[in-house]
Amino acid sequence: MNAPRKLTLAEWDARYDHLSEAGLREPGYGGRLSRHVALEGDLRLRQLRFDESPAALRLWNFLLTENQRLREARAGGDRIVGAMKDLGTVPVMAYSLPGLRAFYPDGAWWTPCLMECSDGLLRQAEALGVDASFCPVRAMLAAFQNGEHFPRPDLLICSAGAVCDDFSAVAQRLEKMGFPIVWWEMPRRRSPGPREPARVLPGNLAAPQIQVECVRGELERICKLLGELAGQPLDAEALANGIQKANQVRRLLASLRQAVYASPGAPLPALEMLVAEMLAIHFCSDREESIGVLTDLLAEAHGRIRAGRFVVPKESVRVFWVNPVADLRAMNLLEDWGGRICGSDYMFTHALDLIPEELPPLEALARAALADPMVGSTRDRARRIVAECRAHRAEAVVVSRIPGASHCAREGTIIREVVRMELGIPAIELEIPPVCDAMLPTLGSRLQALLETAKARRPS
């Protein structure tokens, strides 16, 4: 049996016709992938290579119709919550109430990539005083201003404190542009003192009880606001149900990651896995559908593993990837050059861990929020990376720098140092801009050097 292929957009159109003729059944947002280029200007799709499965088609269509689905939900009477920065906490609360949908306007940081900067968002952000010295998340500012992407949220909630400065600065600018924001405090997570009451967090972490209490207090405040928006209070029972549903998504993702990353060859490509992991943070604005999308992907992965059909061959170098890439194409390139993803930390590992269901729901959410890799020490984050590298036999680590992101100035050095000390495997930092084509020679030579070094270390 042939190995599954990665298809160009044109090849997908042909495959789509074939699948349709064969009776492909799709959700309402389904259709040819190429329509996103024609209708929404997602030009980058022309440079990407996609997994050939119907499950991947469903994933891409789900992702690329999010703004449209949000507008339809608004038109249908739903209230829209813009959650910002916490990546995985506020949406769990919002989706616990009927009639609320939460999304991350932060996600606009990928719009310049998807539209190959034809959207003009970065240029508009510059005109608003936020230039290229900031992370591409600045695209969000312009998206709010021009209203051409996502609908204006009914409520904007943003975490502050131990968050990226560029994001915080952009959000503050947004508020001054007339978009009121509810700020909530996220303290920088620290290790409990020797005699200090402590609480266990997801991800094998711990925090002092006082920090958990503070976050819980802040989330209580957010709960009240969400309840007011929904017209009914968010009580413990509703929140517990919401947590169970969120955990259903997280369990599916955990199974998918385990299946794909532990497999000898990769049954699904890195790009589709990145997109799938993203579903954890706000369910791509539809919790029930995200469960369906992930279920299909998991079935596809299991089927291919059973059949020994891998989209990336067994001999590829097993790479652990840190931070999301500003240009999605980078994930294709890694595989083209002989690597494969065997583990990832795309800055929201706390949204992958299960939220404890045995605790009072707000306490559980507070603990999950505090487990955010970006609010704690970079050394904590590095330790988790090392543990996952060990578990999935990583041969190399890539720390992908986000241009202009304040956290990138320090974290790469620390992570690489810990990885080298603990594992002795090669690690590099790469900066990937929203459209990386102009940097392909540099990117290629650095990535290839890493992969060759890792290969050279294999026992002969």
């Binding site: 608003l128 005083g129 936020v130 010295s133 900031f134 943003c158 502050a160 404190g161 131990a162 990226c164 400065d165 560029d166 915080s168 600065a169 952009v170 959000a171 503050q172 600018r173 508020e175 001054k176 924001i181 700020w183 909530w184 405090e185 303290p187 920088r188 620290r190 003192g193 006082i210 209490e213 503070c214 207090g217 802040e218 405040r221 020490s377 970079t378 050394r379 202009g404 304040s406 956290h407 990138c408 100035a409 320090r410 974290e411 050095t413 620390i414």
Partner: protein
């Protein structure tokens, strides 16, 4: 006030120096520290020179302690970079970004207690209420006097005086020329400017001279350790009245009751007195600026920021919009030694304002 010679460097004016001093240690604001060296760093690294200097300080001043704060990403992660027994004892003070809620005060108060434990472990002692009140009073008076002098004295001497206050808690004596506005009359036609932004350590005070040489006059020093760092205030009269001498027994009871009140006052004083760009929302900064820019008739704003400091850099346009004043952005990393480029930019800015 008993004091050992142990120095404790702090990197944010919102870490209460009086709390360190009351523990018998020497708080040292890094802005005045001769050993606080700003290296030239490659732009591409995106590292803030100030945060990097704090890391270097912790790596080289092993006999002292260094307190980092969480108010910016670079300092917070700089703390992560300092590791190992060869470095100075370090502490990361969690400064809440929000200020409107009880949780912000709760976080700050808990950090005070934790810092207290750290200071005791360094060789300090837990202060009595009397010691703490005395120290708070001393710092408050110094702040009040420095604030009082600000409208008439905001150039280099003012920057030096405030930095010295953060260094050793001192304030020039009342007869000092500093308080008589005797820096010499402003040259006719000099342009009143506000200098706003991040840290301005002593190695960069040349900037103030450059501004003056170019025909400007800094009437508002809103840099990190400038006038806006002097806002924390405490209800000292009420606290002192509570500590009035009584019987030995009643004094013991009072001491026990007063200590939490003093900590509460310290917490409230700092949370409510904090005026900084990292606050969310940062409306206190804008309210503070609005009043002073108008009162001192500033005609332009020099925005002083470090490479990688998104917090300040993002404010350039909002400052223009809020106050209708021209804003000149200056990269801190260029200014060491007074670069020709920075002098040229200031000259052109002032020329345009005349």
């Amino acid at each position: 006030m008993k004091s050992t010679s142990q120095e404790v460097f702090f990197t944010s004016p919102w870490v209460p120096a009086e709390w360190i001093k009351a523990h018998g240690l020497e708080p040292r604001g890094v802005w005045f520290a001769p050993q606080f060296a700003l290296d030239s760093l490659p732009l591409s690294a995106g590292l803030c020179a100030f945060a990097h200097a704090a890391v270097r300080l912790a790596e080289t001043q092993r006999e002292s302690a260094v307190i980092f704060s969480t108010h910016c990403d670079q300092l917070r992660r700089g703390f992560d970079a300092v590791a190992g027994p060869a470095c100075a004892p370090v502490f990361l003070f969690n400064l809440p970004a929000t200020w409107q809620t009880p949780v912000a005060r709760q976080i700050f108060a808990a950090e005070l207690e934790r810092l207290g434990d750290f200071l005791v472990a360094l060789g300090g002692h837990a202060p009595s209420s009397g010691e703490l009140l005395e120290t708070m009073t001393h710092y408050s008076l110094a702040r009040d006097r420095l604030l009082g002098a600000a409208p008439g004295c905001a150039g280099r001497r003012y920057a030096e005086a405030v930095a010295r206050f953060h260094w050793d808690g001192s304030c020039p004596p009342s007869g000092d020329a500093f308080f008589r506005g005797q820096e010499g009359p402003s040259p006719p036609g000099s342009v009143p400017l506000a200098l706003i932004g991040g840290p301005l350590p002593r190695s960069q005070w040349d900037l103030l001279d450059i501004i003056e040489r170019a025909g400007g006059r800094v009437v508002l020093n809103g840099t990190e350790a400038g006038e806006r760092s002097l806002q924390p205030a405490f209800p000292l009269e009420t606290l002192r009245a509570a500590l009035a001498p009584g019987s030995e027994e009643s004094e013991r009871c009072l001491q026990a009751a007063l200590h939490p009140a003093l900590l509460e006052a310290l917490t409230r004083g700092y949370i409510e007195g904090c005026v900084d760009v990292f606050q969310r929302p940062n409306t206190p900064l804008y309210a503070w600026l609005k009043e002073r820019l108008a009162a001192r008739r500033a005609r332009g704003i020099v925005l002083w920021h470090y490479v990688g400091c998104d917090l300040w850099r993002a404010e350039a346009q909002p400052l223009r919009e809020a106050f209708g004043l021209p804003v000149l952005l200056l990269d801190a990393d260029e200014a060491a030694g007074g670069s020709l480029r920075i002098a040229g930019r200031i000259e052109a800015f002032l020329e345009a304002l005349r």
